[in-house]
């Protein structure tokens, strides 16, 4: 752990390993669901490779399972990808290189990459962002393959509490900023409240994208916009 509260390389690798483990299990769950719904192994694997967004894939296939047609299933899936607009905007200023490189950076844009790349000063560490995105990509693909062919290996992720891993991870990763910057704290709370308040009213996926508006609660109001200096060593990891 570094004095400024940033992830040191060893902690980063350990956290990423845990994240990859959960992605593997969720990938397998997806592969199972896809073959249950009648996708061929090639279709199931191609979907993971080309879409590379578990939320969108689960939402679209969930809609298909509930009897939706192509348009409704597409909208359900795309709604879950909508949060990549605000998430991409947070990463954009800190990513280097030309158009080809940008395509790779965009393809590897994940919730996990944003969370693990999140710097204490509010910026994004490109190396951690890309490493996390690549780890998620790799384990998502392997998980999909396991789910498609290894039916008996996959249990119920909920039984191990795996579905509680992500909220906890996201919390840990924004904790240093939330501790030291009241504006970041307001933004996070407002985002959470917005997502929950609009959840029953709007189609799946939209509320989390709308949570981006919580940023307004962060930067509106009194005080300087610059992230404050850390007044104490933050020992999260």
């Amino acid at each position: 752990v570094r004095d400024d509260g940033e992830l040191d390389p060893a902690s980063f690798r350990r956290v990423l390993a845990v994240i990859c483990g959960t992605v593997l299990v969720f990938g397998a769950t997806y592969g199972l669901l896809a073959s249950d719904l009648g996708l061929t192994p090639l279709e199931a694997i191609a979907m993971s490779a080309f879409v590379m967004n578990g939320g969108a894939q689960f939402a679209a296939l969930g809609a298909v399972g509930a009897g939706a047609g192509l348009i409704a299933a597409s909208l359900a899936g795309l709604a879950l990808s909508l949060r990549f607009l605000p998430l991409g905007a947070t990463a954009g200023p800190y990513l280097s290189g030309g158009p080809t490189r940008r395509l790779t950076q965009a393809y590897l844009l994940t919730d996990q990459g944003i969370a693990l790349g999140h710097r204490h000063d509010g910026g994004i560490d490109e190396g951690r962002y890309l490493a996390a995105g690549f780890g998620v990509f790799l384990t998502w693909m392997v998980g999909t393959v396991i789910g498609v062919w290894g039916r008996d290996l996959v249990g119920d992720p909920a039984e191990w509490g795996l579905d509680a891993a992500y909220p906890a991870l996201f919390l840990v990763l924004i904790a240093p900023r939330i501790r030291t910057d009241p504006r970041a704290r307001r933004a996070a709370v407002a985002g959470g409240v917005l997502a929950i308040a609009t959840y029953p009213l709007l189609p799946a996926g939209i509320p989390v994208a709308l949570a981006a508006l919580g940023a307004i609660a962060g930067f509106a109001g009194a005080g300087s916009l610059a992230p404050p200096e850390t007044d104490e060593p933050t020992d999260v990891l």
Partner: protein, 104 residues
Amino acid sequence: VNFWLLIGVLAVGTILFRLGGIQIGRRIARSSGTVLARLLYLAPAVLGGLIAAMTFTEGADLVLDARALGLVSAVLAVVLRAPALVVIGVAMLATAASRQLLGF
């Protein structure tokens, strides 16, 4: 449903959202320091939304179940400055245990 069409639509839409978001961020960074400073609050807001949605929803409904206990445990662990892996482990354990023991 033609799955290949579905895959195509989702793949194109998703990469466009990803590229578009990054492009918006880059443009803002070039044009205005104030707006860039405001962008810093997007990540906590969206991650806050994800935390809430992943904990308190099931399908189309708001629910309060074992995951809420997991999140409370995670908050406590963060307050006590536990390392990241411990926080994640505590959240999973609390969630799994309350499912097993309380059927909740």
